[in-house]
């Protein structure tokens, strides 16, 4: 396309994106890093304090609780979602009456605003009048009627469950596109060798889906670092910040207690964790490109 690649044409095509992206995505990252080395209350000038914010974190109990909760949601959410969406994708791949309806319903929670999902699930998981515990008590399973939310212990599990409910269809659909790309001959060869259904999944599907599994895992990891509304609506981070995630704790530090410098150092930690998690994804995309594929 070198005929059209004049300097002016390239600038015309590239500049709007580069300008908006740089101003509102890349420069803000540097601003966050800058403030993370300062103390700033919103008044006057930010005071440079070196790495003291980062040192303070390790003595901040609330930060460590938020970190632990985030890692719990990360592990639980990844396991629930990978297993669940893998199973659901296989069902989607079967030709049965109502397949399209099934796909539509499973995907639907993805388009509902997270803030509304948080509200609705709050009414289901409320330990006193919520649907789940009322049901468990009515069938005599009082022992299972735990403090899903509002207590100090189980909130991360509840967050992971609601997150799974919300994202199941999305990740299953990505798996489905991977499954559809596996050539049918692979399974035929496998059948000739006498493999049963389970062996086919183990020796053909999973190895062939390696890349899709990595992509899904990365999207789940970055997704966990985007959970905020669920915490905000279901527990408000409480009681006494015991159910806070890193994102919600950072939001609290910055916009409620107005410790901008410290809040930005938490933001930098979130960013670092998310980048580590996404690294594999970017590498796959880059490698695919080198191989010349789309």
């Amino acid at each position: 396309m070198y005929w059209l690649s004049t300097k002016r044409a390239k600038a015309f095509m590239l500049l709007p994106t580069l300008l908006i992206y740089s101003i509102f995505i890349i420069i803000p990252v540097f601003i966050a890093v800058y403030y993370s080395f300062t103390e700033y209350t919103g008044l006057g000038k930010a005071k440079f304090t070196g790495i003291s914010n980062y040192i303070r974190m390790f003595g901040d109990k609330l930060f460590l609780i938020a970190l632990r909760n985030t890692l719990l949601v990360l592990v639980l959410g990844t396991v629930f979602l990978l297993v669940g969406s893998f199973l659901v994708a296989h069902i989607m791949n079967v030709n049965f009456t109502g397949n399209a309806f099934f796909k539509m319903i499973i995907f639907a929670p993805y388009v509902i605003a997270p803030i509304i999902i948080g509200i609705i699930w709050g009414y289901i998981l409320n330990p006193n009048y919520g649907m789940l515990n009322s049901f468990l008590r009515s069938v005599g399973l009082d022992g299972l009627a735990i403090e899903w939310i509002g207590g100090t212990k189980w909130s991360p599990l509840s967050l992971a469950l609601v997150f799974t409910w919300q994202m199941l269809g999305f990740h299953a659909t990505i798996f489905l596109s991977g499954i559809k790309a596996i050539p049918g001959e692979m399974y035929e060869a496998c059948a000739i060798d006498g493999a049963n259904g389970f062996q086919k999944v183990l020796f053909v599907t999973i190895p062939m889906l390696k890349e899709t599994i990595i992509i899904n895992t990365v999207l789940i990891i970055t997704g966990v670092f985007k959970i905020y509304e669920l915490v905000y609506q279901m527990t408000g981070g409480g009681p006494a910040h015991q159910s806070e995630l890193l994102t919600s704790y950072m939001y609290f530090t910055v916009f409620t207690s107005r410790r901008y410098g410290y809040g930005m150092s938490i933001a930098v930690v979130i960013l670092t964790l998310s980048i580590i998690g996404s690294f594999a994804y970017i590498r796959i995309v880059a490698r695919k490109k080198q191989e010349g594929g789309a």
């Binding site: 990252v29 009414y123 992509i215």
Partner: protein
């Protein structure tokens, strides 16, 4: 032999349909439960959680309509969704076309640009909240619609670049070369040759961008400070904050806010799921 196979198959079939039914129930139950709650009184929700309402009334919906200015809220939201989605899709298509098709003096320039624009995938929006707040106030657009629209355009760029460049690299250039030889200029080439081929990709990207912006909460709650500009998710949250004891009113309001989106979804879902299974999101 034949019948034995069929019999085994039908037991499997029953189990299979039971599994499907169970998954469907889990997916739909929370929404159906919310619908049920929206007809109950606050007293019934707290004291008889599993019971049906004594009286099926639309009182809760009436209260929601009386307190929330639905017209203004939808106008604010849809205005922002349309403008931000349009510009986000348009400018990312342009830059993606440049990255995938145009030639640069240095061979690696296109790859560097691509990588630069993809980095955003790894950046959680929460990290950007306070910095963008500062930038908005520096530019004098804090609290205006523009102060929300520009960040919305920006946060979709990485995702759109991934899909557009991925697709463009997958289609052959010959058609475009022929058009150029026939005297087609850049704008004509894009609008008359390239975009028609990419229609399904466009539809998928537009829907994903629009859904994201429609539902977005953290940016809206941080950058909008004037109630007159409230968007859908902001309104939901404010209603809950103000009437925190009115359980049934909150549920009714949430359902009314969610309903239009679900209706759109039912009509457009085949493009979302179809676009994704065609490999769009996988990249």
């Amino acid at each position: 032999m034949e019948t034995a196979v069929r019999k085994k198959f039908s037991i499997k079939k029953v189990l299979f349909y039971l599994l499907i039914a169970a998954i469907l129930v889990i997916s739909m139950l929370p929404i159906l439960w919310a619908v049920l709650l929206s007809f109950k009184t606050n007293n019934e929700i707290v004291n008889a959680p599993l019971a049906l309402p004594d009286l099926w009334s639309f009182g809760n919906y009436q209260r929601a309509v009386d307190t929330i200015d639905f017209g203004r809220m939808y106008f604010n939201t849809i205005f922002i969704v349309v403008i931000a989605t349009f510009f986000s899709v348009a400018i990312t298509f342009m830059s993606s076309f440049a990255i995938a098709r145009m030639t640069f003096k240095r061979k690696n320039t296109a790859d560097y640009l691509y990588f630069y624009l993809l980095m955003g995938i790894a950046i959680p929006v929460y990290v950007l909240l306070f910095p963008i707040y500062r930038i908005d106030s520096l530019l004098g657009i804090l609290g205006t619609r523009l102060g929300l629209i520009l960040p919305y355009i920006a946060v979709n760029i990485s995702f759109n670049t991934l899909l557009f460049v991925g697709f463009l690299r997958g289609i052959p250039e010959e058609l475009e070369e022929a058009a150029v030889i026939d005297g087609c200029r850049l704008v004509g080439l894009c609008t008359r040759v390239v975009i028609p081929v990419m229609k399904p990709t466009f539809v998928t990207i537009v829907i994903f961008n629009a859904v994201y912006i429609y539902n977005e909460f953290p940016f809206a709650s941080t950058f909008i400070q004037n109630d007159r500009l409230n968007t859908v998710s902001l309104m939901t949250s404010m209603f809950k904050g103000q009437y925190s004891m009115d359980y049934s009113g909150i549920i009714a309001a949430s359902l009314m806010i969610m309903l239009p989106e679900l209706v759109f979804y039912v009509f457009l879902q085949k493009y979302i799921i179809g676009g994704m299974t065609a490999g769009a999101v996988k990249g």
